[in-house]
Amino acid sequence: MHDGRRTRPVLIVLLIAAIALITLDFRDAGSSPAHAVGADVFGPVERTASAVASPFESLFRTASGRDSSEIASLQKQNDQLRAQLAQSQVTTQEQAQLSQLLHLTNASHYRVVAATVIAAGGAYSDTVTIDVGTRAGITTNETVLNGDGLVGTVTAAAGSSATVQLATDAAATTGVRMDGTNEIGAVTGTGSTLGAVQQLKLTLFSATAVLQPGQTVVTFGSVGGRPYVPGVPVGTVTQVTSQPGALTQTALVQPFADFTGLGVVGVVVSK
């Protein structure tokens, strides 16, 4: 315990170790084995902690307009129904187009696995951990939604936990379609750039499309439903921010889901 001359060599060793870790992770684009080890180690810990901290959570959720754990089971059920509803919101004509486009045979391809958020990332990143993992059939690049709308996508899955990148994360981009006009575009998370305001930035690919506040945005869908299944409601346009003369139209979108009070979510897994 003597903090004497050995301090500096140990410091240098630790710094080199940290830089080596950063380098390895940078090379693997943030998916080095260290994260897998961490997920295996800390996943159960977080699950336990979340169970212990559930009174506080319900307190938070009560504070943010949600209610207690009795609703949770109902909400789970509700989420599944809402997800199926979101699937069926796509009209038959659109469904035919999409299935033609995306080689989707039918919407019953998917099922929804209910999960609970057990941990959240730091101040800069909008990520959460959910309490289901590969043992429940979760793999990466799967859509996560809740009763309100799109939540995000699974970026990493361990045995009993998975990491979800929220749609508000600055690194998340989702292909979307305007409900009604069928114009396509993309929403990008704003992260913490707007402070505590959780909004998305919409960019329409068409320069001539009409963009008005109040329009609803739904997901466009990806090939094989990964990372986004089609037809999940994302949010409503609140403010058109495009500059005159700009090539693309941009707007701010208020998401349907409440990202600060996430409780029960559903993961859309393919059957």
Binding site: D3, T7, A17, A20, A39, A120, Y124, A196
Partner: protein, 432 residues
């Protein structure tokens, strides 16, 4: 008992870190706090541990805590980022705490909290800076602009709480300011004693001279006692003085004994010095006259404002082992070293847990050898003090009470040759 307690303390640090990581991920990050940011409990815990222990423990705790935050599931940044930043924060906090304690001789809660606050703020900034450097898409300059001030404010608000909690867990008493000894008066008394004006000094009981029955002091903590020439006359000296009584004068000369508590330890011979110390008389411009005054010190001048036992317990020596009692070679330095702060305060007699004389031997104490009465100031010179005869040869070596200490003083407060000799010995491979 001490070993068990140490083990418990060493186990407490990982527990604190794990608790901080878990709370951070499962609770704090999920709480919809106003401002869009959250405090970093792990950073706070690391800074508090570093401040409470030292740089080595601090940086190890920082590395482990940061790594845990890096690889625990919802982390979106690269593994190793927080480990790097927190490791540096822990090291810097521990070093700064040690340096301040080294310079001022005491560890106050204010300095600890200041160091901790600075470290935490630097840690938050370092997290943001490293994320931007590694082009993390989440950490952009507008995001940092929004998050960083709020996060720092939250951290600063939680700083005292984290410090209190960690110091509670690590069983380190919250450090209080040890009363500064009135060296001018003490010096008067001892000078009078050495000059033979009073003939003797009051028989003082030094704090900590009675070994507590419950817990023996650590091996390398030298015990300081003032006795009447007999190293083993503990009972006589301890019973002689009570703080309520005015110091009475006995006919004995004073000797200072620095001895290990082990009976078998040989007491090295005191180093003979030709002068009483580095300019220790400089504090009094009219050096000759007031020494011979028979005015006794005011009543109660030796009474401690606070019990000396509340001085911070330092487990390690303040600097590069200059006072470590376990090494025999360091003993001459220890002998000529000045007494620890608070040595003159009568320790509370009924306090069993801690020897009261174990606070840090600080640099704020007077220059070495000022207490030794073996060679008093030559009377011939004292009769005719020429102009500037007391001025030390080098102005950089002034004592602390002669001049307000500058940074130069801190560096030069003991002989440069000791470190040179140590470096030379290390160079040729001689281990002490």
């Amino acid at each position: 008992m001490t070993a068990l307690r140490r083990i418990a303390q060493a186990l407490a640090i990982p527990v604190v870190l794990l608790l901080a990581v878990t709370l951070q991920l499962a609770l704090v990050n999920r709480a919809p706090l106003p401002g869009g940011a959250a405090p970093d409990l792990v950073l706070l815990a690391v800074a508090a541990i570093a401040v409470c222990t030292g740089p080595m423990t601090g940086m190890l705790a920082g590395f482990c805590g940061g790594l845990a935050l890096d690889i625990a599931p919802p982390a979106a940044h690269l593994a190793g980022e927080y480990a790097l930043v927190f490791c540096l924060v822990g090291y810097a906090c521990g070093r700064a705490r040690n340096a301040i304690t080294y310079a001022t001789g005491e560890q106050t809660m204010i300095t600890s909290l200041t160091v901790m606050a600075l470290g935490v703020a630097a840690g938050e900034a370092g997290k943001a800076a490293l994320g931007m450097m590694l082009s993390n898409p989440d950490v952009t300059s507008p995001a940092v602009k929004h998050v960083l001030p709020v996060a720092i404010v939250y951290d600063l608000l939680l700083c005292p709480f984290a410090y209190w909690l960690v110091s509670l867990v690590l069983r380190r008493p919250a450090p209080e300011r040890a009363p500064r000894p009135e060296f001018a008066q003490v010096a008067t008394a001892f000078r009078a004693a050495s000059a033979g004006a009073l003939g003797a000094v009051p028989a003082l009981r030094l704090a900590g001279s009675t070994p507590p029955p419950a817990r023996p002091p650590a091996r390398h903590e030298p015990k300081l006692r003032l006795s009447a020439g007999r190293p083993s006359s503990l009972s006589g000296t301890s019973a002689a003085f009570s703080p309520a009584k005015p110091p009475h004068v006995s006919g004995r000369a004073v000797k200072l004994n620095f001895a290990e508590h082990k009976a078998g330890t040989a007491v090295p011979q005191p180093r003979q010095r030709t002068s009483p110390g580095k300019g220790w008389l400089r504090a009094r411009p009219a050096a000759g006259a007031p020494v011979l005054k028979h005015r006794p010190p005011p009543k109660g001048w030796l009474r401690a404002g606070r019990p000396a036992g509340t001085a911070p317990l330092r487990r390690r020596s303040p600097g590069k082992g200059w006072l470590r009692g376990a090494r025999p070679a360091a003993t001459p330095a220890m002998r000529s070293g000045s007494p620890p702060k608070g040595w003159l305060h009568a320790g509370r007699p009924g306090r069993p847990g801690r020897p009261a004389g174990t606070p840090a031997l600080s640099r704020k104490s007077p220059a070495r050898g000022w207490l030794r009465p073996a060679k008093p100031v030559p009377p011939a010179r004292r009769k005719t003090p020429g102009r500037g005869w007391l001025r030390p040869a080098r102005p950089a070596k002034l004592s602390w009470y002669a001049k307000s200490p500058g940074s130069q003083w801190v560096r030069r407060s003991h002989s440069p040759w000791s470190s040179r000799r140590r470096r030379l010995l290390a160079l040729v491979g001689v281990r002490r």
